[in-house]
Assembly symmetry: C2
């Protein structure tokens, strides 16, 4: 993460205007630990600035996603959820543990070494076998969280 305003520079480089609304949304994404949906982001943004509409939230999320600064996930609860890129947000490489009952999502950073070895080997092999230009991967575990496992 260059500095707090890394994104202003990137928007400019891509010919995208800097606006109060986009600043608000990016700040929300930078300051959350959860996996917010567009509507959840809208609710927070709208409290800070009554003039922000849901449409602009969707549009900003799309722009950031297309620039690769943001990642869009579907965890199975019907709405897309977003996370700033690890590099952009200065976070460790992680994946998710998803509770199929309450939809709780845990970010985990364990077993990165094993993961890296496995992913590198698979990626290299699959690229060759299927002539695929691999850009990213996803690993996810599903099950019952602490609170839901006994119910």
């Amino acid at each position: 993460m260059p500095n707090k305003n890394w994104w202003k520079e990137i928007l400019k480089q891509n010919g995208i205007s800097f606006t109060k609304i986009r600043e608000t949304i990016i700040n929300i994404l930078q300051n959350t630990e959860s996996h917010l949906s567009a509507k959840e982001i809208y609710i927070i943004a709208h409290k800070k600035n009554k003039s922000i509409g849901l449409t602009s939230v969707y549009r900003t999320l799309d722009i950031l996603t297309k620039l690769g600064l943001l990642h869009k996930f579907e965890f199975g609860d019907g709405e897309a959820r977003y996370e700033l890129d690890e590099k952009v947000n200065n976070k460790s490489h992680h994946h998710h543990l998803v509770c199929v009952r309450c939809n709780k999502i845990i970010d985990y950073t364990d077993f990165v070494k094993d993961e890296t070895d496995f992913i590198n080997k698979s990626e290299k092999g699959l690229s060759k076998i299927y002539n695929f230009d691999i850009k990213g991967h996803m690993i996810r575990f599903y099950g019952f969280c602490e609170k839901c496992r006994d119910k």
Copy 2:
């Protein structure tokens, strides 16, 4: 896979009626190599039997998914896609390679040994660390397929 009619027995065991419509949908799932969406299944089913409606397709897919016989995936193209369980359909354990440009999905079965080692270790560790009762995992690679990589 017990035999061709494995599912009749399972439905009965779960108090679910056996109907022509369900038979048609299950046959379609058994005979496809692709990752069909509800609408695609409906189109095929409807050709075979004009009285089948889209609603019943959704309902049957839900039932099979809840019984664990079918798996529901979201690959990012806006509609859920379905695959019969590997055991049920006598297929090898596999994961997916997804083209982010044309949405092509490749099932791959390579590096299973490495995967099993990595997944087992992670699953055991994560279960303990997060007190999670892990039931399944997903591994997926995103990138550009053979046809899209040069465009």
